[in-house]
């Protein structure tokens, strides 16, 4: 299976090479899309994780046992539909094809599963209809 996840690392484990364990001990492929450490030393990784179903779940359980909080990616970027004017300005800015103009209706659609949380849409949207929630 293959899924995009957001991993939150508490300050106590942020310096431990947990991703290495996922690869070596759980045979998972980790494609890191985004990573950062905040001033409180908490870490956040957005990654696409793929592997056998059994390994996938065991790997996530391992992370959680070390205090890492794990979330599916879709909840991170939110399309506030009532603010969207369906102009379409975001659709050439989104590099992942998550924001698209449906033709011939010319209506904007947000496909959360394709989003890579690059956040380019946040400021590219003139009516500020895209929000980051974390």
């Amino acid at each position: 299976m293959r899924e995009k996840m957001v991993l939150y690392f508490p300050a106590t484990v942020v310096e431990q090479p947990l991703t290495y364990s996922l690869i070596k001990d759980y045979n998972l492929m980790i494609n890191i899309l985004k990573a950062n450490i905040n001033p409180k030393m908490e870490g956040r990784i957005v990654a696409e994780i793929s592997g056998e179903k059994k390994d996938f779940h065991a790997g996530l359980e391992f992370l959680q046992s070390r205090g890492v909080r794990v979330f599916p990616l879709e909840q991170e970027i939110v399309w506030v539909e009532e603010r969207c004017t369906h102009c379409g300005a975001c659709t050439v800015i989104c590099p992942a094809g998550a924001l698209v103009l449906e033709r011939p209706e010319m209506i904007v659609r947000f496909k959360g599963d394709k989003c890579i949380i690059c956040e380019h849409c946040i400021t590219a949207c003139p009516s500020r209809a895209m929000e980051v929630r974390y």
Binding site: T85, V92, L101, M106, I107, A124, S127
Partner: protein, 400 residues
């Protein structure tokens, strides 16, 4: 041969018998029935556009506090409204930003709040903080006034936009190797994208390209309420080159429009922010076109395939005003999501909401069908070439 007068059409509207179609629907009708039959069948064609229109704003009369005050500086939610007019009158412009906004000092600036957003908040019924200053006079002694107000507390509020509903507009591209932040949105380097901002076949001025029915007093849908064309807009440039169908090949006519802000809606007046450029207001406008004869019907039947617009480089040609055009594309190509310039395929994006334009044309159609909205004959028509107005600016395209 079809000939109808405004009076005859209005009579049918009052009787609930007028045939009203949108500027989209009329295209397929003409394909089925031909122009002559459609012209006698259809009475009114409704158009629409919903895009950023920077030359927008509102005249407000803020009411006299006690003691009276000659407001010389007026701020609404921190955004300054021009107060160099009578005592408690002010004009709040859509692109005005708060004095505290760092603008482009930290490039690219975000411009999350400006005059357009204050207007949206007002029509949404939200509270807005009024902060006014004066030097004080014998007749107007008060020097400061602070109050939280809503649109209901403002005695008079009129939207007055001096340049709206542009008849055609440039497609913006970027030939340079750095990202550009423009009023046409974010332009990626090396022809990374092409942005456009017109509703094409639904856009009001494409459906009456020679302004046969448009002018002072034309009654319109404005910001969700009723408004009027009040003059030709700034930079009105009817002398732009035109195709055989009369449709300008580059930016041409514009409208000045007016309407009571109090009957408008936040759905169709929307504050917007352009990264690295500034704040603005998206305005919804819909104009009914009376089908006076077969010629008017032919104009309204124009489709995206027959409307062309120039592609302009915003790294050099536009800012320097060189007038250079990289090519011309149709709105059908633009709306397909991709245009081709030389060998290069460029993804396109609109800044004007086509879905919004379609909805506005539909709402206006409904108003007319219900007999609630009659058409007005203009006191004078928007000027065409040779009538004393020909803008010589450098909007882009070939206007130079």
């Amino acid at each position: 041969m079809t000939k109808k007068t405004y009076e005859e059409i209005n009579e049918k509207i009052r009787a609930g018998e007028a045939v009203v179609v949108t500027a989209e629907e009329v295209i397929s009708l003409v394909k089925e029935r031909g122009t002559a039959e459609t012209a006698s069948y259809v009475d009114v064609v409704t158009t629409g556009t919903f895009g950023p229109m920077c030359s927008s704003g509102a005249f407000l009369n803020l009411g006299h506090p006690k003691p009276r005050m000659r407001m010389s500086k007026v701020l609404l939610n921190g955004v300054e409204a021009y107060a160099g007019i009578a005592a408690v009158d002010a004009y709040l412009g859509a692109t005005q930003i708060p004095e505290t906004d760092p603008a482009n000092k930290s490039f690219p600036g975000h411009f999350n709040y400006g005059g357009g957003h204050v207007l949206e908040d007002l029509v949404a019924g939200k509270e807005v903080f009024l902060d006014a200053y004066s030097y004080g006079t014998d007749c107007y002694p008060r020097k400061t006034y602070q109050k939280t107000i809503t649109l209901k507390d403002i005695p008079y509020a009129v939207l007055y936009n001096t340049r709206n509903a542009y008849q055609n507009y440039n497609v913006a591209v970027n030939l340079s190797d750095r990202t550009l932040y423009t009023y046409m949105g974010l332009l990626k380097p090396n022809l990374g994208n092409a942005n456009y901002s017109t509703a094409g076949q639904l856009s009001p001025l494409f459906n009456d390209p020679c302004y046969r029915t448009l002018g002072l007093g034309t009654k319109i849908f404005l910001g969700g309420g009723v408004g009027y064309v009040s003059w030709f807009g700034t930079q009105h440039s009817p002398g732009a080159p035109r195709g055989e169908n009369g449709v300008p090949l580059s930016p041409a006519g514009t409208l000045a429009v007016i309407g009571d802000l109090k009957q408008m809606s936040a759905r169709w007046l929307r504050g917007v922010s352009f990264l690295g450029y500034g704040a603005s207001l998206m305005v919804g406008i819909g104009i009914p076109i009376p089908i006076l004869d077969e010629e008017m019907l032919k104009y309204t039947a124009v489709s995206d395939e027959e409307i062309f617009t120039p592609v302009v480089d915003y790294s050099e040609a536009y800012p320097q005003g060189t007038g250079e055009v990289l090519g011309r594309v149709s709105y059908a190509q633009l709306k397909s999501g991709q245009i081709t310039l030389g060998e290069k395929a460029i993804p396109t994006a609109p800044l004007s909401s086509y879905a919004g334009a379609r909805q506005i044309a539909g709402i206006l159609k409904e108003w007319i069908q219900k007999g609630e909205f009659l058409l007005t004959k203009p006191a004078f028509n928007l000027p065409l070439t040779g009538e004393g107005v020909d803008y010589k600016g450098s909007v882009g395209g070939e206007i130079s």
